[in-house]
């Protein structure tokens, strides 16, 4: 299933316009957009119609954006002391790992990366059915007094982050919590803003921002897909 941060019903990377598993090799030369299109075509028979609209970041651009984000995080938190990156499942996790890689490259220190599943804290559990799959949450170290940077691939309505903040406090009391997202696509429904943004992308509600990572999807790529209502 692809990371879809899309229609209102699917603010997390779940069901949504459930896209089939990715077996396409996105990494061939100029292959990204092409494969996304192939994928969109394939997923169209699964649910709704998703058409590739625009490529936002290719693998090289994505790497540079993540590197800049890592720099900004270091600047904001004044170094790596007590810093914990917490990736929100699913695609916040590879983002957090990539940022940790970049930080290690700059500072020579491996920052711990936690994994947060926000399913149990969603505010729409009673309106969606069936229940989304619950996955594990784990933190590498104590959150008490730490500087947490929540990482997610796409910031949209803000509801995922609201849930993540609720979840975090059940694990301890961080000294500060900051938010880093690769793509901010607007359309907020809650008063939440990111501290570190990879790229701001104006979108319409019919569009879907897809972020792909090598570990989860076989390649690094950000694209906008358009949801075409079926007749």
């Amino acid at each position: 299933m692809l990371g879809v941060t899309s229609r209102r019903s699917s603010t997390c990377c779940r069901y949504a316009v459930c896209l089939c598993a990715v077996e396409t090799e996105i990494d061939k030369p100029n292959g990204g957009a092409y494969d996304a299109a192939v994928h969109a075509e394939r997923s169209s028979d699964v649910a709704g119609k998703l058409k590739l609209k625009r490529k936002i970041l290719d693998a090289g651009q994505m790497r540079r954006v993540v590197r800049r984000m890592a720099g900004e995080i270091l600047e904001l938190s004044g170094g790596t002391e007590r810093l914990i990156l917490v990736g929100i499942r699913t695609r916040g996790v590879p983002l957090a790992e990539s940022i940790a890689d970049e930080i290690e490259g700059m500072e020579g220190v491996r920052v711990p990366v936690g994994v947060l599943d926000i399913t149990l804290y969603r505010d729409d559990l009673s309106t969606i059915a069936p229940q989304p799959v619950v996955k594990e949450t784990h933190f590498p170290s104590d959150l008490e007094g730490s500087h947490v940077v929540l990482c997610d691939d796409v910031l949209y309505t803000g509801r995922t982050i609201r849930a993540a903040l609720d979840a975090l406090v059940d694990f301890g009391r961080p000294r500060t919590v900051k938010l880093a997202v690769l793509v901010d696509r607007g359309h907020r429904e809650l008063p939440i803003q990111a501290d570190v943004v990879g790229k701001k992308v104006p979108t319409s509600a019919a569009e879907v921002v897809e972020v792909r990572f090598k570990v989860t999807d076989g390649g690094n790529l950000v694209v906008i897909m358009e949801l075409v209502e079926e007749a």
Binding site: M1, P130, V133, V134, F171
Partner: protein, 314 residues
């Protein structure tokens, strides 16, 4: 990880579940286990949902396990027990069901002495119904937590040799466990005194033997069943001592199982009757893990059913 969606309104019997659904419950339970290890052991997931625990038979363990699971998910729960319910005042079961329905609960957990009562209730209420044991018929959440424990210890269920020893005929744990283990591809052998073996037990898809040694030879899992002393003394076997000599699990006897075999017991156990104390407390015993896992499995079931119900009501 299989990503199928849970569609069932109730959990009445393991036989109603596919292998993929069983897998989903176990995978979900595995995520929920972490909640019980947190400093704040509570998630807001079932906030605003009402769960009724309807226990027509005494049960401390199962009821508290459900209650803890409900509380850790933030559900509002209330308990009806046989002594305080209308049944003793002559209310029919159907009327009890309709009265409960009128209170609009989201889920009902029921334990009853007669098989089929949970199903009857499920047909009459819109709430999801969870069978917490109906007579000697079934106890699906126990089977799920046993399977979860085995999977945690052995990493799989498929191809494992499981021996169940004791009161095969009257244990509510047996049938659900057999159904589940067969569905997941494990090989089950049952053993017990002839008075405690049901007629034609092989039709359940198990091998039946009449000696403990034979049952546990080469087994990966040895599941001892409780002798219901309060019910069967003097009826099913001559003496407790004789039972222990023939069917009690001792350290000696456990040697014929695989070297890494685990020992399970659904509780409450009679030390020195079906199981020797040193085995129950030994390194291969996972009896207390079963109890801990029970909470996680019941959280998973409550979580999955509460979503399916929404759809049924939509």
């Amino acid at each position: 990880m299989t990503e199928i969606a849970w569609q069932q309104k109730d959990l009445l019997s393991i036989a109603d579940l596919s292998a993929a659904e069983i897998q989903l419950v176990l995978d979900t339970a595995s995520s929920f286990r972490e909640v019980s290890a947190r400093p704040v052991k509570k998630v807001p997931t079932l906030r605003g949902k009402t769960v009724i625990n309807l226990f027509f038979e005494p049960s401390t363990r199962t009821r508290s396990s459900f209650e803890i699971a409900e509380k850790r998910l933030s559900a509002d729960s209330l308990n009806f027990s046989a002594s305080s319910s209308g049944l003793v005042k002559g209310e029919s079961l159907v009327d009890t069901a309709l009265n409960l329905q009128a209170m609009a609960p989201d889920l009902i957990v029921i334990r009853h002495g007669h098989p089929g009562v949970p199903r009857m209730l499920a047909e009459r209420v819109s709430a999801g119904v969870i069978n917490a044991g109906d007579g000697a018929w079934g106890h699906p959440t126990q089977a799920l937590l046993d399977a979860f424990t085995i999977r945690e210890e052995k990493g799989k269920l498929e191809g494992l040799k499981v021996a169940m020893v004791g009161d095969i005929a009257h244990s509510r744990v047996v049938r659900s466990n057999i159904e589940l283990l067969n569905t997941m591809g494990a090989e089950v052998t049952v053993a017990g005194p002839r008075t405690m073996m049901p007629v034609a037990v092989e039709t359940l898809g198990v091998r039946a033997v009449y000696s403990l040694e034979e049952a546990i030879r080469g087994a990966d899992v040895v599941m001892m069943l409780r002798v219901q002393l309060e019910r069967h003394k003097k009826v099913m076997f001559p003496s407790v001592r004789e039972y222990f000599q023939l069917f009690g699990l001792t350290r000696e006897r456990l040697r014929s199982a695989k070297r890494d075999a685990i020992v399970m017991h659904p509780g409450p156990m009679n030390r020195g009757v079906e199981i020797a104390s040193d085995v129950a407390d030994g390194s291969r015993s996972v009896i207390l893990e079963q109890v801990a896992n029970g909470v996680a499995v019941r959280m998973a079931v409550l979580y999955l059913l509460s979503g399916a119900r929404q759809e049924a009501g939509a």
